[in-house]
Symmetry: D2
């Protein structure tokens, strides 16, 4: 069966700003979806903030293998019940690709447990993205680096947990570096943070960026192992697997 991908986009800049609208006439979500389809992913749909439940009903999430997240200026408008729902789905196995300014989204911060803050600068500067883990599936099809001629800068310190796998590191013209491609395992889910992308640059039309996002979707696909019994915080009392003699017969358990 095809991997089922949902591309979520805040979709405000494109509707409110003429410049951005020219870069992404159909919205960032459609540009990303198009790139995924061009890379052979057939079951791709989109969802946006200003629709009921932000387009992320339980049904939609249950039918999503990998969710892609782009948000920027309206992070706080994402309802907590939806964030909670996405969180649970990731822990239960749904892949999550967080793009660019999504670093500061509620869902990414909740999954990381840190501020996810960083340095930034918007100065049309060159970014060169180096592959530091060339055997990783997310680096498939790339050369040793690729360049984005004009980008918003994100710089260290990026306040995240150490990634389980660090795939990319960015060089910026203005003198900064950034861990640009970061893999995290959380619960049964796989999460990939990918830095490039800003509403004022045509970055999601680029072939290299589309390649990475398609690679990441395939890497983050659920791989059904043991069931995940822990949703809603339930813990799990369990019988012994080996014979256990009763050590204090008659003692009332108090714990």
């Amino acid at each position: 069966m095809s991997l089922r991908v949902t591309v979520w986009n805040e979709y405000r800049h494109e509707r409110e700003n003429d410049y951005v609208a020219r870069v992404y006439p159909q919205g960032i979500h459609q540009a990303i979806a198009q790139g995924l389809r061009a890379h052979g992913l057939r079951a791709v749909r989109t969802a946006t903030l200003d629709t009921p439940e932000h387009g992320l009903s339980q049904e939609v999430l249950d039918g999503t293998d990998v969710l892609i997240w782009w948000g920027h200026k309206a992070h706080t408008e994402v309802g907590d019940p939806v964030v909670e729902r996405v969180h649970q789905r990731v822990l239960a196995g749904m892949g999550l690709i967080v793009l660019h300014s999504g670093h500061h989204s509620k869902i990414f911060r909740r999954l990381m447990g840190t501020t996810c803050s960083l340095r930034w600068r918007e100065a049309d500067e060159k970014e060169r993205i180096w592959v530091v883990m060339p055997g990783h599936p997310i680096a498939q099809g790339l050369g040793p680096y690729f360049e984005i001629p004009e980008a918003e800068m994100y710089g260290e310190h990026f306040d995240i947990p150490q990634p389980d796998e660090l795939v990319f590191v960015s060089w910026f013209e203005g003198g900064n570096v950034f861990r640009s491609g970061c893999c995290f395992y959380r619960g049964h889910g796989k999460i990939f943070y990918f830095r490039p992308g800003h509403e004022t640059y045509p970055i999601y039309h680029r072939e290299d960026v589309r390649q990475v996002i398609a690679n990441a979707v395939r890497w983050a696909a659920p791989t059904p192992g043991p069931a995940f019994p822990y949703l809603q915080g339930a813990i799990h009392e369990t019988d012994p697997l080996e014979p256990l003699p009763e050590k204090h017969p008659g003692r009332t358990r108090v714990g």
Copy 2:
């Protein structure tokens, strides 16, 4: 200057249950504090749930280098503002040692981003704690393993991020295993989760357990590097460090 340690304890079981009161007549916090003092830590104080601000005012936290956390049945009674305050302090560099049932505390779950759930069983069974990273500072002074004759069982799958350093793995008589000693770096802070300890067993009176907790306190001590500018979620606009030509003179910035 001495490391300043605060031992926090829920302190309910000991006051409500005679059996527990006999095991920890002065409370779990005092048993732990005593162990730390015996290991040369001189600036140790305690704090408990049923006091103003749970004993964790901003002033107390600002004067704490490493916080130890024991909670069990009243996790939900810990006020969110205090959890937020502890979270911020950890990200800013305060060490945090989470013990046993603290795995399910608000603060640990928030820092981990996962459910932190696990399998458990209370059956007075033997636990053998193996050192799997013998060169780690937290294993200092130990042999290849140590045994706790009767313990509550915690078993895998333990729903945490992969630890940055896995120091201990437990064997249980009833057939389970558990990652018992887990190091995490978050923000500027260092976190150690240590499994042993339950209100009905005299585990915090044991020399091996005290050794580990004292080691962990020293490992988790703040090591002041660059300032942490990201509290309250602030992000950080930053000037270029290299000359950056203006690429589109006259274009109005829209981002």
Copy 3:
């Protein structure tokens, strides 16, 4: 194209010992190959120690995507040029699955940089293999644990680098634990160490073990990213990617 797998076996015990010959009449390599074919891998061949170049000519290795390694009592008889050749191929991207007593093979020790030693005991004891990373592709199709009724014991401390991903931890009847399923990224290659298997037990006929090995083969498959330019220790002088003013015109370079 099908993944091309080569199963390498020392193939001595089976030819020299009647008991082992009854457990693996066609050799451990054939039992493993059979399991892989049953899991849909079609291009599986075998190679053994007592053939020219141990069956691992450059041509064979160049035509191998994932190599499986089983050795035990003749590690020292594996020729250094073959070890060197395998090492280079792994760094260049070939997957490597090291089984059981292969922990002490020349190739695994060379890739790890440590002694790869461990505690062991042969006492027909029960092993219960717990999944500690249930969302990992290598855990696909498994339950929370599986059991091997009689096994040789391997116990911690296992002297390896911390794995990049720890998938399994074993419980043993005799009181030991072991990190049984360990993923490592090295160069462009992916390595999986999997503990179960001993010549006197029919472990490679088991469905759960076969599932894991098939999963591991798929996980370790090469994912062609940037070329790997570093074989034979060559380093790589490189031109600047940005304009670099000459800082000391006329100074002779001495480095």
Copy 4:
């Protein structure tokens, strides 16, 4: 007791090249030793290649807590028995700090299991070293970054295992990035690779570089846990810790 540090230097460039001799009149080893003493380390001695056993007799190594390694053009002249001896000592707990061109030394490559190759360029370019793990002890006393006005460039891909802790990432004027400060745990030993330093630049006279090396020495100090029983590749047969019934009485063991 004071930490006992040995600074090892190839010590050829300084004796063979006038330019280098002016930068390091007493050799790179003395410059480093001086920096350590200025940071309060009192038991610092040096050793060099062209002395008996390269100055690294068993006795010297046994009396060394942390070894610092600088080599460049004579890696192949370091005798294999000495490399073996250093390897064993690291696995048994001695700290190792590998500097700059030491990335290609026999000892570092053996410990890593990879080629340890990289891109390089000698063009007097600016390096800015960013702290990406600001709570790490090795970042103690630093700001968010520090700059070296002229340096040899090392660039990714750096063919090493993923570090257990990545502390620094470098930005280079010519467009490259590099993982400049990398922690590894191997056996009982702790290893830190630190990029800066080249014989033609006065880098080891810099206060920031000295601070990092002193921090690294303290981080890499041995922390005596369980004994390390595995030298010379010995493996370790071990008795059961729990009662084990004999399962096949009378069967002769064949393994």
